[in-house]
């Protein structure tokens, strides 16, 4: 390689430039606190609250304009019905009934998903088994199994739990399994380097490393279970004397007490919001956000 090819392209030697920064004077502001308006706009919960208030106002306005409580009750009427339901203890009792069934189905579903995914990472045939099962059952809406469940388990929470398990298992298993597959090769090698084997390896390396996917699976499973539960209860729910929220909605529709129907729907939404924004958000903040694993 010849020396000349590295020389300055314009041929002549160019002067070097040195700047004395101490002499430099005016500068834009390096750092200043945000103004109150900027701060308020940065608060996510404030922006979301504003959206909720706007929606409630639109609802109220449309309800008053329509002026037909049988079709579309106003926001205030719904709020009143909700309040009455809460004070009289009907809504909490119904919600609790739904909740108990939901938790049972959710827990069993997660347990089955855990067993299936553990088998799937332990052997190739286990992987194939899980993949065949998920591709068969994941597209099948849980509620479609309800008629069959009624024959097998009778009119009771057994049938509902069965469809709930079906709705939870595949979502959780699918996400957990894909999370396990995505765990970096290096981390897997590190785990084996420590001499970890079998369940200890799964528990202390794979599960935490795949936790973002697992959490997504749990969230999706929760949403599926919640929807399936309300839908199943709409079909029947009188079994144990007092049904759940779905039955509450159905019952009041039959009595044409539409504000209370709306109040029932509002309860479903509120519980969903609570679980999403408090329960799962707290888990997220304490785990994957703290670990810097949030994608």
């Amino acid at each position: 390689m010849s020396e000349t090819s590295l020389a300055s392209p314009i041929g002549a030697e160019r002067p070097e430039i040195l700047i004395d920064r101490a002499a430099a004077t005016s500068m834009p502001v390096v750092e200043r606190p945000l103004s109150a308006a900027e701060w308020i706009y940065d608060q996510t919960w404030l922006r979301k609250a504003a959206i909720l208030i706007a929606l409630a106002l639109a609802w109220e306005a449309y309800g008053r304009y329509l002026n037909n409580e049988l079709l579309f009750p106003t926001f205030t009427a719904t709020a009143r019905a909700f309040w009455d339901g809460v004070v009289s203890g009907v809504i909490p009792a119904r919600a609790w009934t739904s909740f108990k069934v939901l938790i049972a189905g959710y827990a069993i579903g997660i347990l089955i998903a855990a067993i299936l995914t553990t088998l799937a990472i332990a052997s190739r045939i286990g992987t194939d088994f899980l993949e065949v099962l998920t591709s068969m059952f994941n597209p099948l809406p849980a509620i479609a199994l309800l008629p069959l469940a009624l024959i097998w388990f009778g009119l009771g929470s057994g049938s509902i739990i069965f469809v709930l398990v079906h709705s939870v298992t595949w979502a959780v298993a699918l996400n957990t399994h894909s999370g396990f597959l995505a765990v970096s090769k290096t981390l897997k090698m590190v785990g084996r380097n420590y001499g970890l084997r079998g369940l200890r390896y799964v528990g202390s390396i794979l599960i935490p490393a795949a936790f973002p996917s697992i959490l997504t699976g749990l969230k999706i499973g929760w949403a599926f279970a919640w929807r399936t539960l309300i839908a199943a209860e709409l079909v029947f729910g009188v079994s144990s004397g007092s049904g759940g929220l779905g039955w509450f909605i159905f019952e009041n529709k039959n009595q044409l007490d539409i504000p209370t129907v709306f109040a029932g729907l509002l309860t479903v939404i509120l519980i969903g919001l609570f679980v999403e924004n408090f329960v799962f958000r707290t888990i997220e903040n304490r785990t994957i956000a703290q670990w810097g694993m949030q994608s």
Partner: protein, 263 residues
């Protein structure tokens, strides 16, 4: 030449690699990574595996780690055949994601000690802190890995490897993903740590200067498949450093230069 070098070493070697051929499968082919490689590592060695990409040096290190079984030949550590990964051979990887992201720096080192059964409880904690201190990360003991720079992560990985006090530390291009300045600093720190505790390390690199700087013994491998070309002494300084660098360069690239001249 091999027989001579073997009889020259008086003590029993710590690690013996004899006639090792390594093969791995890709979807369409079986690739031979190394062919009949022999070398001995003695206690306290800073042994370097040096070669261009494709010479199977990382594969060789993984085989010593127990992640890969040789198709031919044997790898013995203290006379014992290596069959699977274990805490007596700690790996330090090139990738920054080798720390468990859900554990702090201290927890990472403690977890390694506890899960491998080397130390428990307070003893594990004390030993972990001792080695975190050695790599100058005491202030960051309670930080999560994602808040650390690349160089700091590699230092934690080294602290973790050393805290386990393994028979041999296996380092797979640990500084290759670092910027040049950090890399130089880390090399100096590694040498200082070695001067302190005299651990045995098997170090893979593709950088000739790094090999000469860090190693006391350098194994040169030729590519496709990896075969031993030479086993040299490292640790040269100044003029000798430059001479050795040139010599290695000529050995590694002799074939290529000949090819180029023929064109």
């Amino acid at each position: 030449m091999n027989d001579q070098s073997r009889s020259a070493g008086t003590a029993q070697p710590l690690l013996t690699v004899s006639g090792v051929t390594l093969q791995y499968k890709t979807p369409n082919h079986i690739v031979t990574a190394t062919y009949r490689v022999d070398f001995d590592v003695h206690a306290g060695d800073r042994f370097i595996l040096l070669g261009p990409s494709g010479c199977g040096k990382s594969t060789l290190l993984k085989a010593v780690g127990g992640y890969l079984a040789p198709t031919e030949g044997q790898i013995r550590l203290k006379g014992q055949l290596i069959r699977e990964p274990g805490p007596d051979r700690m790996m330090v990887f090139q990738e920054f994601d080798q720390l468990l992201p859900w554990k702090t720096v201290l927890q990472n080192v403690v977890f390694a000690l506890e899960s491998s059964g080397r130390r428990k409880g307070k003893e594990a904690r004390d030993r972990a802190m001792h080695y975190i201190d050695k790599v100058n990360l005491t202030k960051f003991a309670d930080s999560y890995p994602h808040t650390l720079s690349g160089g700091m992560k590699q230092r934690v990985a080294i602290a973790r490897g050393m805290a386990m006090e393994p028979d041999i530390l296996l380092m797979d291009e640990p500084f290759a993903a670092l910027d040049a300045l950090t890399r130089r600093k880390m090399q100096d720190e590694l040498l200082a740590l070695w001067a302190d505790t005299k651990f045995t390390v098997l170090f893979v690199t593709h950088s000739i200067p790094e090999a000469i700087k860090i190693g006391n013994r350098i194994l040169l491998l030729s590519p496709h498949p990896g075969q031993v070309k030479a086993e040299l002494n490292g640790g040269a300084k100044d003029a000798a450093f430059a001479a050795l660098e040139k010599r290695i360069q000529q050995m590694l690239f002799a074939d290529e230069i000949e090819e180029a001249e023929n064109v």
